[in-house]
Assembly symmetry: C2
Homo-oligomer: 138 residues x 2
DNA sequence: CAAACGCATGCAACTTTGTTGCAAAATGAT
DNA sequence: ATCATTTTGCAACAAAGTTGCATGCGTTTG
């Protein structure tokens, strides 16, 4: 894990610092998405709030994580697949949000289906969010 | 319009007040979705910020409007179709957000396609957001 | 139409969330 | 070990959202 974390940071030309290692560790350990608040809670007093914001921002820019829009408009972040880069993301998968436990899961294998738009609209990116009950809560 | 507004409020057992009429009017006049900030700007000093929050909350609960999750995690609201009620919504249509002008449009005729989930997940509601360029901006 | 009731509003105070500038500290290269 | 460059923490601020309470307005009833 330690090695994996270092590798991800190095690959993205980021210096290896305490907060980056810790936050990346949290993402790798969690199988779901994390909110800014989750991260703050889990890191405790260890890092400043501002550092968490800036670290997430950096990870976003590098394509290490992506955001997930949620129906209640909270901000969630999840690890990107390996082939995401600064410019180009490949996160065209469906996201599932459990309305019971709140867990948000990247369904990496479920590709967002195509949809035909009315004339005039030029689509660029598709997002699909499914809410419901997860395995544990149903 | 005035009559239409009254009818919507009455149908939902809401008293007809200044702020509710004005905010509903804004939604009916706009063909896109509105953010809380948009509404505040357009109503000016006429109503308190808190009143706008509470009015939107009430409309949400009654099923008069629905929220739209956006990739940048801002909160957008749009009118529901007639057959939405307190408990049950029928807003299973695609939403389009223009990345140039920011306008958000309900594609009421475009139904969200079905998608097969891995075993264990019990889906309840589907959301689909497409970003890109609208007719005016392309 | 007047009176009375109950809900909606405005205001103030507060919390939460996110941003910015700057000095000190940590990192990576030499 | 030294130095240049980033990153961090702190403080101050701005924006966004919430809550309690007294007052005002809309609705109902007689
Ligand atoms: Mn994902
Ligand atoms: Mn809609
Ligand atoms: Zn669950
Ligand atoms: Zn546009």
């Amino acid at each position: 894990m330690e090695a994996q974390i270092d590798e991800i940071l190095r690959k993205n030309q980021l210096s290896v610092t305490g907060s980056r290692k810790r936050i990346l560790e949290l993402f790798l350990a969690s199988n779901g998405a994390l909110a800014h608040g989750d991260i703050e809670k889990k890191t405790g007093e260890k890092f400043d709030r501002v550092t968490v914001y800036r670290t997430l921002q950096t990870f976003l820019e590098k394509g290490i994580i992506h955001t997930i829009p949620t129906p209640d408009n909270s901000v969630l972040y999840a690890l990107c697949k390996d082939n995401c880069t600064e410019g180009h993301h490949h996160d065209n998968h469906v996201h599932f949000i459990c309305r019971e436990c709140g867990k948000t899961i990247c369904l990496a294998d479920i590709t967002i289906p195509e949809v035909k738009l009315p004339g005039g609209f030029l689509p660029h990116e598709y997002q699909m969010i499914v809410t419901g009950l997860c395995k544990e809560c149903r």
